[in-house]
């Protein structure tokens, strides 16, 4: 089921306390894809999900399922299933009745209910506690029941609102993989909400990055990582996040050159062409991912002078926090790199992989 949002807006409250939760949102979620809405809290991602579910009515704009306008439909007419952050199981019903409830209110035949519940329980390995109440289950088990309640009805769309955020780190990792596998098997259109960019990147076919109710970028995970449209997306996607350094672009004898931390570096061709069409001199923001920084001796010409602030080994690699001209920068280096706190090092930037953003608007220059 393809989902289309056209100019969707949501405003909460009235007068001085008005909150514009979602602004002029256009989004197409192709049939069968796993799409994630990601952003910091308050960015409008959950509100968007709830509007797709029918739990909130958009203030403006239309929502389509396929070619049918469902904007004014009740949740129960939309044939969607939702997994809530806190699971929202029915506490007075046992697991079987929790799973069966949606089928029962749709007047499914008892033997069909029984078969579908058993099938779902088998897939999710919850068959052994079908007669337990939710309060007798662990967090992970509850999470599975919530998931089971969604898939048992075989809905047209899955909606998931941070379903992993109440699990401990280890369980979150395994469940994440299982969810992805489940989607590959069922191929049901899925809209997933999270504030965790890693979940978004690892699970999704496409990711919609939202900020302050505005859609920033909607692309595949690789594109988001390689070609972020602005400093917000660049800083949000990736861990550790992209480093930003204020810089100036100036015309020199050899063409456009970049001045950063008192050092002049030549620009690679595509960026130079993009800059050539613009003003003589401008403030920009240089964006470099931590893995695109290398250490050199500080005496080598053209390197950025830096001082080691703190060293964070994480096992397979090491994150080195540095100070460059008063700005904090993180480099991601091999675990066996020999650096210690307060060392003076030279930083080499992989110039083919840098990003430039406009100093005022934060938009990518390319």
């Amino acid at each position: 089921m393809e989902i289309r949002l056209q100019g969707v807006e949501k405003v909460f409250g009235r007068g001085a306390r008005t909150v514009r939760a979602v602004r002029a949102l256009d989004l197409v979620i192709p049939s069968g894809e796993f799409v994630t809405l990601v952003g910091p809290s308050g960015c409008g991602k959950t509100t968007t999900l709830r509007m797709i579910a029918g739990l909130e009515r958009p203030t403006a704009g239309r929502i389509f399922f396929g070619d049918r306008d469902v904007t004014d439909w009740e949740p129960r007419d939309r044939n969607v299933a939702m997994v809530f952050q806190n699971y929202a199981l029915y506490p007075h019903m046992n697991v079987f009745r929790n799973l069966a409830y949606g089928l029962r209110v749709r007047r499914t035949a008892p033997e069909v209910i029984d078969r579908q519940v058993q099938d779902t329980a088998r897939v999710l390995e919850i068959g052994s506690y079908l007669d337990r109440k939710p309060r007798e289950l662990s967090g992970g088990q509850r999470q599975r029941v919530a998931l089971g309640r969604a898939i048992v009805r075989n809905p047209a769309v899955f909606l998931m609102d941070e379903p992993l955020s109440n699990l401990d780190a280890k369980l979150r990792l395994t469940t994440r993989a299982e969810l992805k596998r489940l989607h590959l098997e069922l191929r049901t259109t899925t809209v997933y909400v999270t504030h965790d960019q890693l979940e978004a990147m690892t699970m999704s076919d496409r990711v919609a990055v939202m900020h302050d109710g505005v859609l920033q970028q909607y692309d595949g995970p690789a594109v988001l990582y390689e070609r972020p449209v602005n400093t917000f997306v660049a800083g949000f996607i990736g861990s550790p996040p992209m480093n930003f350094l204020p810089a100036t672009v100036e015309r020199s004898q050899t063409g456009m050159a970049l001045q950063v931390a008192g050092v002049t570096v030549a620009l690679p061709d595509p960026l130079r062409r993009a800059l050539d069409q613009r003003a003589e001199r401008r403030q920009v923001v240089l964006g470099v991912r931590p893995e695109h920084l290398r250490f050199q001796s500080p005496q080598v010409a053209g390197v950025l002078p830096a001082r080691v602030f703190v060293v964070e080994p994480v096992g397979a690699e090491t994150y080195v926090d540095l100070l460059v001209n008063g700005h904090r920068v993180v480099a991601r280096v091999d675990a066996d790199t020999a650096v210690s706190v307060d060392d003076k090092v030279g930083l080499v930037v992989d110039l083919r992989r840098i990003h430039l953003f406009d100093g005022e608007t934060g938009q990518a220059i390319r």
Binding site: N86, A88, L89, P91, Y101, G102, R135, G139, R142, R153
Partner: protein, 297 residues
């Protein structure tokens, strides 16, 4: 003092306190029960007997059959109003009024509290504060205005006036109690129901009400006890002897200088029975069924 002796001392103190409190609370009840099965000549004997020498069911028989012959046989005295024959009517009145009050106040407060927690409408805040204010004012203040109102409506000396009077006392508190209960039911559970395909009404019946059951039982007990035990309102609203509830009715056993302690105590025991049975039936539900486990935490 060793740890062990201190622990024992604490236990002894604890149990002494518990036993004392239990005895103090239960003695009047036990005394009523014992007195109700003593024959009249043993009842006021000095020194008193705690356990009756001879058991009799005369008092209960008089109350339940309405026949007062034994009065004359035992005392040679025949009271003018012969109250025992009204006992069953009083009992019936009390049941009708209490059940009526309970059903209406629980029904209304449940619906009102649900709408207060789940919907927003103009005047919502004012309404909830206002009803809470009604709960703060002592009920005595309402009695005479209510009486005048009932008189104007032509309801005085009729059971509906009592039901209305009791509701005016119970409703604010019931509303407040149900409100607290509904606020404890997570909204997501209802939304899950809506998405699962239930209508709002189905969600209310099949999900919200079962979860609110402990609250409904608590409010029911509260309204039942208030209306069953009330004396003040019934004393003022009711006149005819056949229309009285138990609390006011049994006062007729004080007949001038003659107090029929046997009937009084038997009535007291019979009055306590319905409440005791009610408590025994529902006390299990008061603790099970809470919404634990639906939501994390």
């Amino acid at each position: 003092m060793t740890y062990e002796t201190r622990r024992r001392l604490r236990l002894v103190l604890l149990y002494t306190t518990l036993v004392t409190v239990t005895v103090v609370i239960c003695f009047p009840l036990a005394w009523a029960l014992v007195t109700s099965v003593k024959p009249n000549d043993e009842m006021l004997r000095l020194p008193p007997t705690f356990l009756p020498e001879r058991l009799t069911a005369d008092h209960y028989r008089a109350l339940l059959t309405g026949r007062a012959m034994y009065f004359e046989a035992a005392t040679g005295y025949r009271p003018k109003t012969a109250p025992p024959q009204h006992f069953l009517a009083w009992f019936f009145n009390s049941v009708v009024v209490s059940v009526g009050t309970t059903v209406i106040s629980v029904g209304v407060s449940t619906l009102a509290a649900y709408s207060l927690t789940r919907f927003s409408f103009p005047g919502q805040r004012f309404f909830s504060y206002f009803s809470l204010m009604g709960y703060m004012v002592p009920s005595v203040i309402f009695v005479f205005p209510l009486f005048l109102l009932m008189a104007r409506l032509g309801l005085t000396d009729r059971l509906p006036s009592l039901v209305l009077g009791y509701i005016s006392i119970t409703l604010p508190f019931c509303l407040w109690l149900m409100w607290a209960f509904f606020r404890g039911i997570p909204l997501e559970v209802e939304e899950a129901g809506l998405i699962d395909g239930a209508s709002r009404l189905q969600v209310f019946w099949q999900i919200v009400l079962p979860l609110a059951l402990p609250g409904i039982i608590a409010t029911s007990i509260f309204s039942f006890v208030v209306s069953w035990n009330d004396y003040l309102i019934a004393r003022i609203f009711m006149n005819s002897i056949s229309q009285l509830p138990l609390t006011v009715g049994v006062m007729h056993f004080f007949e001038g200088v003659h107090v029929d302690w046997g009937l009084m105590m038997a009535s007291a025991v019979l009055m306590t029975l319905p409440l005791s049975i009610l408590f025994m039936l529902v006390q299990r539900h008061l603790i099970v069924g809470f919404g634990a486990g639906a939501v994390k935490g």
